[in-house]
Amino acid sequence: MTPLLAVQGLSLTAGTRRLCENLHWSIRPGECWALLGPNGAGKSTLLHALAGLRSVDAGEILLQGQPIPQWSRRALARQVGILFQEHAYPFPATVLEIVLAGRHPHVPFWSQDSAEDLALAHAALRATGLEELAARRVETLSGGERRRMEVATLLLQSPRLILLDEPTNHLDLNHQIGLIALWVEQVKTRAGALIMVVHDVNLAARFCDHFLFLFGTGESRHGPREEMLQGPLLTRLFDHPMLAVESGERTWWVPG
């Protein structure tokens, strides 16, 4: 199977810090990846590079065989979407207006959004439990509601490759599980792929079948879940002892 995304010899630096070096990595349709590493290891930077927001120091990122910089913004936005970690809104806007932005790459340049686009936006608001808040101003929302609004925007954009930067931030437990389950289902039905940055190993183990670790020194390792979730490797990654607790069919990782 040809990979959806292929990373060849990628190096990323921030100032003088090496985030990743000579990374070779490919993501096939249907895969869910978790990106783990200590603070400042470059997890968000790597996501931004995959979304085409940042130039790379060496190597290439190919989406469906074509280098990212060769994609037009509109075409790329139909394939790759990202949920940012934090976002500030300097201008007032309604929740519906922000969510409708997700349709932008699908609506032809010369036309305006149609009744169908509006119906899709309302469906995305329903999926995130925000129907009642469609006309609310974004500055009156709580942190969790704002996060769900951003999730709804990305649902409406419905890219094939979904990049999530700490998707559980600000969310209640039921929304954390529910929304990630929604993404994973989308990935499986549409032969897409998902890459998420998370801090919770157990949450990642529940939803992701592949893992990529960034150690913060430029070193990285990746592979299938069973190969990556090993006590010594996790202990080295988090610089803290990690213990496995068996419970029924599942293994839980707890800091020692």
Binding site: G81, F84, H87, P90, F91, P92, L96, E97, W110, D113
Partner: protein, 341 residues
């Protein structure tokens, strides 16, 4: 609508609803026409609506007809165009710099225009010479800022461009002060009036209307992208906006609009900063509505300010720039207080 504004948590802003959009534009258009008619009917030599009505039916006093068609119409038309251009320029610059405090003056455009106009006035030029000087000054300042800031590729959220503009503007301020100091007394008064924003010099407002029409046509297909750019450049990029290209366009359009307005009407503050915010406070947040509404409201505000400047202390007149801030500041503060409650 007043109930909506008072209760910020549960309000459903009028302008956010489909029917509200047409209503808002309709009301603004009616107010604009009303103010335009009032500006034609009133002034130093009198008149009134009755006389204007007679004139429309072709039965007026020929002397009054000359006053209306040759003095009041170009002046009111100039105020309408300059106000609309300033308001559009302000709305664009606020998105470009992602800063709600930005206005056409912050990037040094008006400083350059003032410098060009004062140089022309010192040289004894009048009329078209001063307009041309202002135009050249505004455009050269715009190119200077653009070159110093290194193009939109390097704009980190506009901070570099904003700083460059502010510094260049203060440089122009010093040059203007120096030129005023050197200027002979008989020319000083005209120069000071120019700096306060005086519409009495407006000769031919129609080139400015041409610029207004042109920028409106160019910005319409962009306005959906502007909604996304207002959310943030990174979000806009990942949602399919060619951010670099749109920012170039915004920079060129807003500078061109500001340069035309300043060349026409002199330094008029406040319209560009306040008009988009007034509309945002009224619940107008979609740029497909905000831009045409800003143009209408900005033109109306400046025409109204100029009308009041002509009649308040008649037979004397004052520069409209004095009144834009006198009217705009309390209006803005009042709306902001109401929306916070």
């Amino acid at each position: 609508m007043s109930r909506c504004i008072r209760n910020p948590v549960h309000r459903i802003p009028l302008a956010g609803r489909e029917s509200g959009r047409a209503l808002l534009l309709g009301v603004l258009l009616m107010v604009a026409v009303g103010v335009l008619v009032a500006a034609l009917a009133n002034g130093g030599v009198g008149g009134g609506l009755g006389a204007l009505w007679e004139l429309m039916r072709g039965r007026g006093d020929p002397m009054f007809a000359r006053v209306v068609w040759e003095l009041r119409l170009p002046r009111a038309g100039g105020a309408m165009a300059a106000g609309a251009l300033l308001a559009l320029s302000g709305a664009w610059m606020q998105i470009l710099l992602r800063n709600p405090l930005a206005d056409p003056y912050v990037l040094g455009v008006s400083g350059g225009a003032a410098c060009g106009a004062i140089v022309a006035l010192s040289a004894g030029a009048a009329g078209i010479g001063v307009d041309g000087g202002a135009w050249l000054g505004a455009l050269s300042s715009m190119l200077l800022v653009f070159w110093l800031a290194g193009g939109p590729g390097r704009w980190d959220g506009g901070a570099r461009l904003l700083l460059t503009g502010v510094v260049v503007a203060s440089g122009w301020g010093a040059v203007v002060s120096f030129l005023l100091y050197l200027m002979p007394d008989e020319r000083l008064r005209g120069a000071l009036f120019w700096l306060m924003g005086d519409l009495s010099r407006v000769g031919d407002p129609w080139p400015a209307w041409g610029v207004l029409g042109g920028v409106c046509v160019l910005t319409w297909p962009l306005s959906r992208s502007l909604n996304l750019l207002a959310i943030g450049p990174e979000r806009a990029a990942t949602l399919g906006v060619a951010v670099g290209r749109v920012r170039w366009m915004l920079y060129l359009l807003s500078s061109l609009a500001a340069a035309s307005a300043v060349a026409l009407a002199g330094s008029i503050g406040f319209i560009g900063l306040v008009t988009p915010h007034l509309l945002r406070l009224l619940g107008c947040t979609d740029h497909r509505l905000l831009l045409p509404a800003s143009a209408l409201l900005g033109g109306t505000l400046l025409t109204l300010a100029d009308l009041l400047a002509r009649i308040l202390i008649a037979p004397r007149q004052m520069p409209a720039g004095i009144l834009t801030a006198l009217l705009g500041a309390p209006l803005f503060l009042w709306l902001m207080q109401r929306s916070r409650r």
